[in-house]
Amino acid sequence: MIDPMEFLLWTKGPMFQIAIAVFGLGILARLFEIFALGRRHNYSQARGGELVPGLKTVYKRFNPDPGTFARSPFDVIVGIIWHIGFIVVLLLFIPHVELIQTTFGIAWPSLPNPLVDAITAVTLVGLVAALIHRLTQPVKRFLSTREDYVIWAVTFLPVLTGYLAYHRLINPYPLALGIHILAAEVFLIVLPFTKLTHIFTAFVARWYNGANFGRKGVQS
């Protein structure tokens, strides 16, 4: 039997260092490779600036375009709900803010625990619904790869284990917290090498798109 406290100290200590190192190294290597590769030189005369239209598109792509919404309202609504839920519980839960403060040196206000708890529950339901939809909808099922299911699990587990730890449904608590931290570490480790990189690259891609629009002088 593993000793719960030793397990917790391992997840909080050496394992966290490994996870944060893999994450930092991996994600910056991926991003800097993209930046260093750059884009093909554009010889045409610029008709407008790039920065502002680029940022505008970064923002505007949050709104689903009407066509997408009409075709698959489920994906848009459930997708937005659980994405926002995930980000809110990740960034605004008090223990997470404490962690971020010591790791990154920055802090921000947080939400009361009951609110975070409710949002977590909604996020869990959203993620389960997304999986069911993926499994039952023939087109989505056909398009899904093994990676998609792995990534679903890697995303779902930190939320689930966090919920179980908060409600103290696994005993003893050091074990519950250790499992949650380990699940989050798995998320951090696989993030730079899977489609989870979209957390960062989505904004790079949007900016490139918008910057291109701006240069061409079309609406961004």
Partner: protein, 374 residues
């Protein structure tokens, strides 16, 4: 001389009831203690008379108290806890035959007392240990008593014991001596004693009532209490500080003290952000309190240090929140990020160079030229 300290064994040692009456403890006071003990051990109230009856008849059990790598804080906690109460008298009336700090004898006479107690009560005495001890593979010179290594003394004394009570976090889990880098090779008692029941009563120091409670239960039922996975009595270590904390509603509402003198601290809000380890700590402080029920750390405005859990010295800063990772993650991230950025840039530039080279080597071929070659 050793002979002068030889204790004359009483033919019929007084029962606990008799001794208590001689100390002026009323029947009512005694029953109140029994009722409190019953509720403490989560027994039905109807058990109180049974406890009273059993305790009345109990003979003074012989207790050998071994102090190894410890600070005497556990003994201080017990003896100086509060003015004499029934619990104190319970301790007074056990036959504490050997205890460094409390016994009058010294030197050879002291060791003789231990040997005699072992001989007279073979198979029936309790061994209480406070402090960790250098393991069998460590240098025994780190801690010796009367020229005997802690390890030899423990194994010899335990051989005839009925049970062992490891008092304090050092004895139960290794405690401060075992903290990284563990210079003395310290181990806990239950790592060495495997053929006798070991009860861990951790805490730095433990709540006095917990020790008396365990002894009372042993005297009452002649059996050891139900233990958790760390061999701690469930009656006292079954619930976490967090779950029984009177400040818990503030945690649930998200109201936290952020410094020791802010508005939240003055209003008595939750101490999680100030490093409280209550959520992962199992102990009875929140319910039984200290100094005769006066107060306890969280009530005094200080976060729980988690002192009754293994490795609490190595669990990170006492004033850092439970969720904060150990070590130096900020610099690890920074170093990894610098390496990652450099590797990414290098990969990108290599890719560009590859493209440029391919372009330079590119030789245009017309369809006619290809046809001629074929």
């Amino acid at each position: 001389m050793a002979a002068s300290t030889t204790r004359v064994p009483q033919r019929t040692p007084p029962s606990l009831g008799e001794t208590l009456r001689r100390h002026g403890v009323s029947r009512r006071g005694f029953l109140k203690f029994c009722a409190a003990t019953a509720s403490m051990m989560a027994l039905p109230p109807g058990m109180a008379p049974a406890i009273a009856e059993a305790l009345e008849k109990a003979r003074r059990p012989s207790v050998i108290w071994l102090s190894f790598q410890e600070c005497t804080g556990c003994t201080e906690s017990l003896t100086r806890s509060f003015s004499p109460t029934v619990e104190n008298l319970i301790l007074d009336v056990i036959s504490l035959d050997y205890h460094h700090t409390l016994q009058a004898a010294a030197g050879e006479a002291a060791e003789h007392a231990r040997e005699q107690a072992m001989e007279e009560n073979d198979g029936n005495y309790l061994v209480v240990v406070d402090g960790s001890l250098p393991g069998p593979d460590a240098n025994p010179g780190h801690s010796t008593i009367a020229g005997i290594s802690n390890y030899d003394m423990l194994m010899e004394t335990v051989s005839g014991a009925a049970a062992v009570v490891a008092v304090g976090t050092c004895a139960a889990f290794g405690g401060l001596p075992k903290a990284d880098p563990n210079p003395s090779g310290a181990v806990s008692v239950d790592q060495l004693v495997t053929d006798k029941p070991v009860i861990n009563v951790p805490g730095c120091p433990p709540v006095p009532m917990v020790i008396t409670g365990v002894l009372a239960q042993y005297l009452t039922f002649g059996a050891l209490p139900e233990l958790d996975e760390y061999n701690r009595p469930r009656a006292f270590f079954g619930q976490s500080i967090h779950d029984r904390c009177y400040r818990r509603p503030f945690y649930d509402k998200g109201l936290f003290a952020e410094t020791f003198d802010d508005e939240g601290a003055k209003k008595g809000w939750c101490l999680y952000r100030l490093g409280c380890k209550g959520p992962m700590t199992y102990n009875a402080c929140a319910t039984m309190k200290w100094n005769g029920g006066t107060s306890w750390p969280v009530e005094a405005g200080h976060p729980c240090l988690g002192c009754s859990e293994p490795d609490f010295w190595d669990g990170g800063g006492f004033y850092r929140a439970l969720s904060v990772p150990l070590g130096d993650p900020a610099n690890v991230l920074l170093a990894a990020g610098v390496v990652g950025a450099a590797a990414g840039t290098a990969a990108g530039l290599l890719g560009r160079r590859k493209t440029a080279r391919a372009k330079a080597r590119h030789q245009p071929v017309t369809a006619d030229e290809l046809e001629q070659k074929l």
